[in-house]
């Protein structure tokens, strides 16, 4: 049930498909538990009523209608054979479609329909029921596999359709009723589903490794144990046992380990190993996007924050590590976007960025002076908008956002009428030093006060160098709020190297 919940992305990704389908089938079971050995037409209706009344959620409702068609047709059958099952499943599929106002392909509807179509092709006279149902299940699996091709939202989330998988489970249940040993195959689906749901781990695993092994080694082969063992080696494990052949698919950083493991149990019939990291890179390059944003930033925290916007790429660099035009160009050329907005986030990098802008027609630079200033502009911009509007918004927001940095002086100096001694903290806005003090907190407050005195309703965002400056900064929130006349004061650990604090004031 949880597996299905985790896979749920369509139509509303609220993670309840498993719960809904289980509740629905439970209604059938409860109704069926009151039935005797022989069934009348009314009994079929009673089962359906049980299902209908316990159905919940979209998937549950569709499942209930699928069962409705199935039961109604089955109630007319003299004998439960392959042909009767075929008619029942056909009627089930039609009934499921009619339950939905606007049927969408790539869902359990597709699985319901295509499994019947598939089975139709292999159906022959006097086909044993079990064999027929195995064919249905095979068709259902093929259809399930295809769901991401039909429904883009599934592909994006890297899952198969959860309702479709639920239907595969139900069909598996039918087979298990005929043959209790069928349980082994059920665990196989479970494995692949678990992995599909955990797609964020993808990419960690470097090689897509597939093999077919003719079993015959000295050690006794147990597929469940094998799956568990291989899951220690990698992810996305799909394993099947077909006759004497063990088929394996796994994503792993160490394909040699998977080979070594399997070799114990027999000889390889086929091996395929592909580097997925390279594949992903190639794939990414092919997807042209309307807008990419490149931000120069230093510090892990700052980098993570920028990446929290899906369309932003971070180029590491900053005050101590000025980025060259060449580096910027290679970052630009790695993008496959119609428009690129470049946020240099440092006065010293603006020049290099302007050079890059001259050389590449699809690049526009917003001369952001700090990571906090650039971030404030992104926060206030609708990044879903058209590229021109995004650029204009970032430009406007940047011009309206003041920025302040706090750092420790490395030597004595005198700037903008302020005397700074080595080891003291100073606050600077652009080229202007505002204040210096041996007391870091005093320096923060005084500098902020000088910069925003007299302006109202200011939002303050402060990136800090580490967790200590974060804690320290947070003690200042109410003092800062008193200066700004606004309680919107936020600190986040930026992890940058030179500055103790970088503020954006908007």
């Amino acid at each position: 049930m949880q597996i299905l919940n985790d896979m749920n992305v369509f139509p509303i990704p609220d993670g309840d498909t498993g719960t809904n389908m289980e509740m629905t089938m439970r209604g059938a079971c409860e109704a069926a538990s009151f039935l005797g050995d022989t069934l009348s037409a009314a009994d079929f209706d009673r089962i359906y009523e049980g299902i209908l009344l316990s159905s919940q959620g979209n998937s549950g409702v569709i499942l209930s209608q699928w069962m409705k068609g199935f039961l109604r047709e089955l109630s007319h059958a003299q004998e439960l054979d392959a042909l009767a099952m075929y008619s029942a499943l056909l009627s089930a599929s039609q009934s499921a479609y009619s339950a939905v106002v606007k049927p969408v392909e790539g869902t359990m509807l597709t699985v319901a329909r295509e499994c019947v179509e598939y089975s139709e092709e292999v159906l022959y006279e006097d086909m044993p029921l079990k064999e027929y149902l195995e064919a249905v299940l095979c068709g259902a699996e093929i259809a399930l596999d295809r769901t991401p091709e039909l429904l883009p939202v599934l592909k994006e989330a890297n899952v198969k359709d959860s309702g479709g998988y639920g239907l595969v489970c139900v069909l598996t249940g039918f087979l298990r009723a005929l043959d209790p040993d069928f349980i082994a195959d059920f665990s196989q689906y479970e494995t692949s589903a678990k992995v599909t749901a955990k797609n964020e781990n993808e990419g960690e695993f470097g090689y897509c490794t597939e093999m077919i092994v003719a079993l015959g080694g000295k050690e006794k082969f147990d597929i469940k144990k094998a799956i568990a063992d291989i899951e220690q080696i990698g992810g996305s494990v799909v394993a099947t046992l077909d006759g004497g052949f063990f088929k394996l698919h796994v994503h792993t950083l160490y394909p040699e380990k998977a080979l070594e493991y399997c070799h114990r149990y027999g000889e390889f019939i086929k091996i395929k190993i592909e580097n997925m990291t390279e594949q992903n890179k190639a794939l990414k390059k092919n997807e042209r996007i309307p807008l990419a944003i490149i931000a120069v930033a230093d510090g892990d925290g700052v980098t993570e924050l920028y990446k929290s916007f899906g369309c932003v790429t971070v180029l590491r660099g900053g005050q101590s590590d000025n980025v060259s035009t060449g580096t910027l160009l290679s970052a630009i050329d790695a993008q496959n976007a119609d428009n690129i907005i470049l946020l240099p986030n440092n006065k010293n990098i603006v020049m290099a960025a302007k050079e890059a802008e001259k050389l590449r027609p699809n690049v526009r630079v917003v001369p952001t002076k700090s990571t906090a200033q650039g971030y404030m502009a992104l926060m206030l911009t609708n990044l879903e908008d058209e590229a021109d509007r995004v650029y204009n918004s970032i430009l406007t927001e940047t011009s309206l956002t003041k920025t302040l940095v706090i750092a420790q002086a490395e030597r004595d100096s005198f700037s903008n009428g302020v005397e700074i001694k080595k080891g003291e903290y100073f606050g600077a806005a652009g080229d202007d030093v505002l204040y210096a003090s041996a007391d870091r907190l005093k320096c923060v407050l005084k500098s902020l006060e000088m910069l925003i005195k007299g302006t109202e309703d200011i939002t303050v965002l402060g990136f800090t160098s580490n967790s200590q400056t974060l804690r320290e900064g947070e003690t200042l929130c109410s003092d800062i709020a008193a200066i700004t006349g606004n309680h919107e004061v936020h600190f986040s650990e930026g992890g940058m190297s030179i500055y103790d604090y970088i503020f954006a004031l908007r």
Binding site: P11, I12, D14, S54, Q56, C311, L378, M379, R506
Partner: protein, 295 residues
């Protein structure tokens, strides 16, 4: 022949309002770690505060659409008593209830062939959905037939709008009930997303503004720009336990829009779970909602 007008738990109509307009509702449900509850719209102010405070304290709930059994039982009661049913349902982009209702209605047709159940996918929720039901009720009082009322609501639902601000997108995102893609989901540090109900009935983030005050002003601005026939219109402000902000929004709207009546109410549990505490929604009749909000 008289007919019953129904909404569901997302319409956020309290008992007084339902009584005034003779409107029934189908209950959805929600569950937390302490089990499942019905999404009642008769809560007291204290119950609402308690509920939203539990969310503020980190409690999370899951919503359940109207169960088929609830539809079956309640619809049959009305049909048996000889009433037709007009169900003005929560947006199909937010809940599957309307689909379930249609299915149950199909089942009941066999048993009550002379009765009819008409379902409207309102493409909206909260009191914007409620406002459509109120309009239906007013037409019923004028003696209009169910078919006429149904056709009118179908034709006019696209003019039924809301504009809203949420404290954070994370509730909508967790509930899977916002249409924006990942670029909107940055860490926003007090920046408030502004959302509208779009032509597909989804919640769409259209703008981000700095802080609470600016968010309220933005809602009022968008509403003032898009409202039509303001004089005499009732604008509904629903809030997830922030009455003061709702009052503040009321005066901002009053500054910009003349002649409208503004009513304030709670966002009920189902919508509340999806949007989170502190959310404000202003519902109004205005321009076709497929027209872009931000020009």
């Amino acid at each position: 022949m008289d007919f019953v007008i129904c909404v569901d738990s997302t319409a956020d109509m309290n008992a007084d309002m339902r009584k005034e307009y003779g409107i029934e509702y189908f209950k959805m449900g929600f569950s937390g770690d302490d089990g499942e509850r019905e999404a009642d719209l008769n809560w007291s102010d204290e119950q609402y505060s308690e509920f939203y405070n539990s969310m503020r304290a980190g409690k999370r709930y899951k919503t359940v659409q109207v169960p088929a059994a609830v539809f079956a039982k309640q619809m049959e009661e009305y049909l048996k008593a000889g009433f037709d049913i007009l169900y003005i349902a929560c947006s199909s982009a937010l809940s599957g209830s309307v689909n379930t209702a249609q299915m149950v209605a199909g089942e009941l047709k066999a048993k009550y062939p002379e009765r009819q159940v008409l379902c409207v996918d309102s493409l909206i929720s909260t009191l914007a959905q409620g406002a459509l039901a109120i309009k239906a009720s007013e037409m019923r009082a004028e003696g209009k037939y169910i078919e006429e009322v149904y056709a009118y609501i179908e034709e006019n639902k696209m003019f039924c709008n809301y504009v809203s601000s949420v404290e954070t997108l994370s509730y909508l995102k967790d509930a899977g009930r916002v249409s924006a893609t990942s670029s909107f989901f940055g860490n926003l540090f007090g920046v408030k997303p502004i959302l509208v109900s779009n032509a597909l009935g989804q919640n769409e983030a259209v703008k981000k503004v700095k802080g609470r005050k600016a968010a309220l002003a933005e809602i009022a601005d968008i509403l003032a720009r898009r409202i039509t026939d303001a004089a005499g219109q009732v604008i509904y402000i629903t809030h997830a336990d922030d009455y003061d902000a709702a009052k503040e929004l009321q005066s901002l709207i009053e500054e910009r829009v003349e002649g409208a009546v503004i009513k304030i109410g709670f966002i009920g549990p189902i919508v509340g779970i999806s949007v989170g505490p502190g959310t404000l929604i202003a519902s109004y009749m205005g321009v076709d909602k497929s027209l872009p909000t931000v020009e």
